[in-house]
């Protein structure tokens, strides 16, 4: 690990000042310390933000508000999460391990880095780690990589499970920076790789994620997260889907579908959602929606299987959600 200096801050203002001076926020450390040890990340100054009062989880009407420093385990087990947004709890519990979920924060989870093996190999070409060096995954081992949103410069998936659920639920982020406070959809946090895969998110330098706001409403009740992976737990997704359905009198009034493991960012399936409106919640309709979801998919040499797996995962998840009372 490269040497760095370390400070613990106790107010948001101190945190913002330290970040403006070039400091890097440290929350649970489960992404950052791991990558610093591999010398993939080399911050010169760490700003420990764990003492900031940003760990609260609370309800406002039927909306759920989650502080950026709330731990994955605490959000997953919180009575308001379970009451208002069980989908969020399900997506969190499907990720990482109990130990990691006790340490990892919600803000850090959204900003975790890709799991592409070449990103972590310092002697491999990787545009994300070293812009302009090439992408080893495109002609290499790419079974775990994306089939949507890829570019000739990077094909890595975004690994967060929580982000998929938040994108499906139209959640919003509140962030604070040197220029003040702003809010925007979680979906807009993530960039497509395009020609600049080293730029992953849309936060401005020194901006602090403060809170996640998840609107309530009918789709929150019939909602499921289905994660398919190489082993039953403690593994990243090959394909995952967060779905939510609003069904009344045997007809679908509203639908949300987002997928993980297939896109270079959490992937919202809006055409599939639109195709479900007005339909009866039956397999035929779900299959037609799933077909639209894979339209435009561009598999790589090693991940053709993801196209069919995505279709089937969407159908199964919609069936699971439809069965909820």
């Amino acid at each position: 690990m490269f040497p760095f200096s370390f400070d613990k801050v106790s107010t948001e203002d101190e945190a913002l000042r330290a970040a403006a001076a070039g400091g890097r926020f440290l929350a649970g450390g489960t992404t950052l310390i791991d990558l610093m040890r591999e010398e993939i990340e080399q911050p010169r100054h760490l700003v420990d933000i764990n003492a900031l009062p940003l760990a609260e989880i609370r309800a406002e009407g039927s909306d759920l508000l989650i502080g950026a420093l709330a731990r994955m385990a605490d959000v997953a087990g919180h009575p308001e999460t379970l009451r208002l947004h069980p989908l969020i709890a399900e997506s969190l519990l499907e990720g990482a391990s109990p130990q990691l979920r006790n340490a990892a924060s919600i803000g850090g989870n959204l900003l975790q880095r890709v799991r592409c093996p070449y990103f972590r190999m310092r002697d491999a070409a990787c545009n994300k780690r070293m812009p302009g060096s090439g992408c080893s995954a495109i002609g290499g081992l790419n079974a775990g990589h994306a089939i949507m949103g890829t570019s000739e410069h990077c094909v890595a998936t975004h690994p967060s499970d929580l982000a998929v659920a938040l994108v499906a639920l139209d959640a919003t982020l509140r962030v604070r920076g040197p220029e003040g406070e702003r809010g925007f959809p979680v979906e807009d946090l993530f960039r497509l790789p395009g020609e600049t895969p080293h730029l992953e998110h849309t936060l401005m330098p020194g901006e602090l994620i403060v809170e996640v706001w998840v609107p309530g409403g009918p789709p929150a009740r019939k909602a499921r997260y289905l994660k398919v992976r190489d082993r039953a737990s403690y593994e990243f997704a090959l394909v995952s889907t967060a779905v939510a359905l609003d069904i009344q009198d045997g007809r679908i009034l509203g639908a949300r579908i987002a997928a993980g493991g297939v896109g270079t960012r959490p992937w919202r399936m809006r055409a599939s959602e639109a195709a479900l409106i007005g339909k009866a919640p039956v397999r035929e309709a779900f299959s037609a929606a799933a077909e639209l979801a894979v339209r435009g998919a561009r598999p790589l040499s090693g991940n053709h299987y993801k196209v069919d797996l995505l279709r089937r995962t969407i159908v199964r998840a919609l069936e699971m959600a439809g069965e909820m009372t």
Binding site: S5, F6, R37, N50, P98, Q99, L100, N102, Y234
Partner: protein, 155 residues
């Protein structure tokens, strides 16, 4: 980088160490305090051999810095027994053959103690899910699950 003073209560005793900010909690325990019960398997958060309790919660000591835990209470495998009396889960691991080579065992036991305290040990399936952060390369899983079930039933 200059060393920083960090005071951590380890197994009930306040311990002060001077360490570089780069020092993980795991290295602070093993190299500075010579508590080598906590193991370093992967050093990447992937195996659970380094599991300790920080303020009662189980975490991976390899993915956290010692300087982040100034003032915290840490419990390691060395802190579970009372004198010569083993913790009930330690005794259950012996009863149930919950180990083979023993390398993963300190992490399994500390994680298992937390799993029981959290209320996540009511069935074999629940124990499996909530112990998934601890890998056993010898595959002693059946004994590990039996030991945790036994200790959970008693407590």
């Amino acid at each position: 980088m200059s060393a920083r003073g960090v005071t951590i209560t380890v197994n009930g005793e306040a311990r002060s160490i001077a360490c570089d900010p780069r020092t993980s909690l795991l290295d602070a325990l093993r190299e500075h305090l010579h508590l080598t019960g906590t193991k370093k398997g992967c050093n990447q958060g992937a195996c659970g051999a380094c599991t300790v309790l920080v303020d009662g919660r189980r975490i991976n000591a390899c993915l956290t810095l010692a300087v982040m835990h100034h003032g915290a209470e840490v419990t390691t495998i060395e802190g579970l027994a009372t004198g010569d009396a083993l913790h009930p889960l330690q005794a259950a691991f012996i009863d149930c053959d919950g180990l083979q080579c023993g390398f993963c065992t300190p992490g399994q036991i500390v994680s298992g103690v937390a799993c029981i305290n959290e209320g996540h040990a009511s069935s074999a399936a629940e124990i499996q899910a909530w112990m998934s952060g601890n890998i056993c390369r010898c595959g002693a899983y059946l004994g590990i699950i039996a030991a945790i079930s036994q200790a959970a039933g008693r407590s």
